[in-house]
């Protein structure tokens, strides 16, 4: 009996890495995350899309790094000791780094802890979000990974 219960829970939950960007907390589906690395020297690529900060050397691989702040239309990144680059691994397109202010924790959310209706298409920032996760008192905006990797830029 007990075992069965565990299985059922596992099926309907997902783990998210909770990161801080500005004053808000965002969640990234752990399935997409390959790696989290400390901030390092980013080589600027001239004439690239503005939200691409440049490229880094990740153990011999060249990985482009994106500023999610620029893409979402927020203030510029301020790099601190807590800044991290989340390396996302996306099928067919390879690795992509996303700069975040801080990595907080990993949470497990079940589907009924996620509010999908709070997302409206009108809010520009919401385009990158597919739901709001409720972890105790804290609200976590869950990133829609495909929107992040999409060409589209927030005006």
């Amino acid at each position: 009996m007990a075992e069965n219960k565990v299985e059922i829970i596992e099926k309907s939950t997902k783990q998210y890495i909770v990161v801080q960007i500005g004053s808000e907390k965002y969640g990234i589906d752990i399935g997409y995350v390959d790696n989290i690395v400390r901030m390092q020297k980013i080589t600027r690529v001239p004439k690239a899309q503005v939200y691409f900060k440049g490229i880094i050397n990740l153990r011999g691989e060249i990985v482009p790094v994106m500023s999610i702040r620029t893409k979402m239309g927020l203030d510029d990144d301020v790099f601190t000791n807590a800044s991290r680059i989340i390396i996302l691994k996306i099928e067919d397109r390879g690795a992509l780094g996303v700069i975040v202010d801080e990595v907080c924790e990993v949470v497990t959310l079940s589907e009924d802890e996620i509010d999908r209706s709070a997302v409206s298409a009108n809010n520009a920032k919401d385009n990158f979000i597919n739901g709001i996760g409720k972890n105790g008192d804290a609200l976590i905006s869950l990133f829609e990974i495909n929107a992040i990797i999409d060409e589209r830029e927030n005006a």
């Binding site: 001239p46 050397n57 011999g60 060249i62 482009p64």
Partner: protein, 691 residues
Amino acid sequence: MDVSQYLEIFIDESGEHLQTLSDCIMTLEKEPDNKDTINEVFRAAHSLKGMAGTMGFKRMQHLTHDMENVFQEVRSDKIQVDSSMIDLLFECLSAIEGYLDNIKATSDEGTEDNELIIKELNDFIAKAKGEAVESAPKESAAEEKPKESDGSFKKFELSDTEKKTVAGAREGGSHIYGMTVYVEKDCLLKAARAFLVFRAVEEFGQIVVYRPSSQDVEDEKFDLDFSFYIASTEPLDKIEAAAKNVSEIEKVISLEIEEEKTEAAESAPASTESKSAAAASAPAKTAAAPKAAAPAAKKQTAGKPATNRTVRVDIEKLDALMNQVSELIIAKNSLVSISSTEGGNFASQGFHEQIEYLERITTSLHESVMKVRMVPIENVVNKFPRMIRDLSRTLNKKMELVMTGEDTELDRTVVDQIGDPLQHLLRNSADHGLEDAALRAQRGKPEVGNIFLNAYQEGNNVIIQVGDDGNGIDTEAVKNKAVERGIITPEQAEAMSQKEIVNLLFMPSFSMAKKITDISGRGVGLDVVKSGIEQLGGDVEVKTKLGEGTTFTVRLPLTLAIIQALMVEVRDEKYAIALGSISNIEDIPVKEIKYVQAKEVIHLRGSVIPLIRLDQILDIEPREEEPESLTVVIVKRGDSQAGLVVDNLMGQQEIVIKSLGKYINGNKLISGATILGDGEVALILDVNTLM
């Protein structure tokens, strides 16, 4: 049977066999009596048939089977190779290529039966049979359609060696019996049944001739019947009974083969069940001649192609290996940079020696891996003679392709992509380049137009020259056309050099063809060639002389993965410039900069070179005050030059080219990135787009 896992191998190997066929048929056209070639052609056709059969591609099998029949006749000197036959064979090859393309695209051979070609092939054989006195055309037709056979003994032609074997057996006092065995339709293990039949009859004598060959029978490469000649001293009905004893054998037809076997075949219409014509005519005295076995065995082994000492490797595995070697080189580079910068701690001689040793090993490892990836351009260019031959027919111009340096090797990725541009250039030569016969005669040129393709290595590049001894490019006509199309103004046209005019041909949608032909002239011409070659990091140049010919020179890098580069600094950013595109480096005092049309140029040893400020085009903060002299890296592309202004030169280095990935785009200035010894990332400037 699920054969999908073999599909790739099948496609690969079929392609190879087709190429062999095409090559050999080209050779045959020139030397119709070349026995080796004929044998090779036969082998290739035979393997192709077998493979198609195994994979269940019935139509393809059928076509190759009939083609093989023709080769069989050629091999046994029944048919002389002539030009109509060569044409037909090439049609066949095209049809088979069609099947193969279908298979590649959809894993299915498609529904085209190519009946016309098959009929023509059979007509060919029938005609040849008619000429060959030995048998009536009617019978040979029946022979070509085994399915229609009514269960008679199948007559077949013997090769010379087989004739000798038969004669040898006869001299030994044996009778030669011919037998055709029909296997039941729903028999599952035909080959096994055949084996049992062979074993049963071999108790009585020696099988001297197999149809199809014993190898094919073993491989189940026969429909429902197979035939053989057996030399035996026993009476025929005994042998026949033994053969019939094997289960799942529908019937056995047999007859004794007389000395004049044509007579025997005709006089013995071999009724269904064994009313064998000359059953036990002469009882034997001695046992079957043992020497008969030897030549028969020899023939079998000759049929098998020699095995190559090569291994097929998935290109992805090679790429992975290459990547790992690249990593190793990067790691080595960083060790080198540590040892030189922090010399204090690592000053021991042993450490330096080991570093040097490591350097040697990585360099040779890198070379070896590169060599593995190198393939001769032969794989691409060897389809061209055939193409030129076809073009010669369609254009009705006499021409000949002379190729040299087919063994020149290039990186696999380059070779894979160079085919189309080269093909395009050759078609251009054939169509636009060569004049028609009358004009050639008038100009005193040989009747047969000469098209050439020369490949050779030059430093870190491979040069491929494609050209002709034809008309050359009429620069006046090009100029007029360009003005007419509004690409340039008449004034501009006047000021243009010959070279610039010729380069107009590389503009998109610029075709000189007066009428659109099958071959070229659709306006997607040289610009495609140019961009294709540039994508590979190469370039193309034209030399032409009106009335004498045109030569296109294609220059390609040996490899795409690792290059020698000059590292430069602009402010605090590091960039790599491929050494191959640098002609020289100059220190230019600022006051020597001149202006032409408000653009900065320098005048250097007679040539005027435009200056490109890297900091400006790369969006780097400008310097607060200009130094007195500039470091200028002069780069070249073809004959054009440009001077890149940099802050600092860091030196030459072997760099591993890495792609920027699929996310960052709209960036033509940067062709990739590389990782330096200290782990830092430097961008590689694409000089071609700067000019």
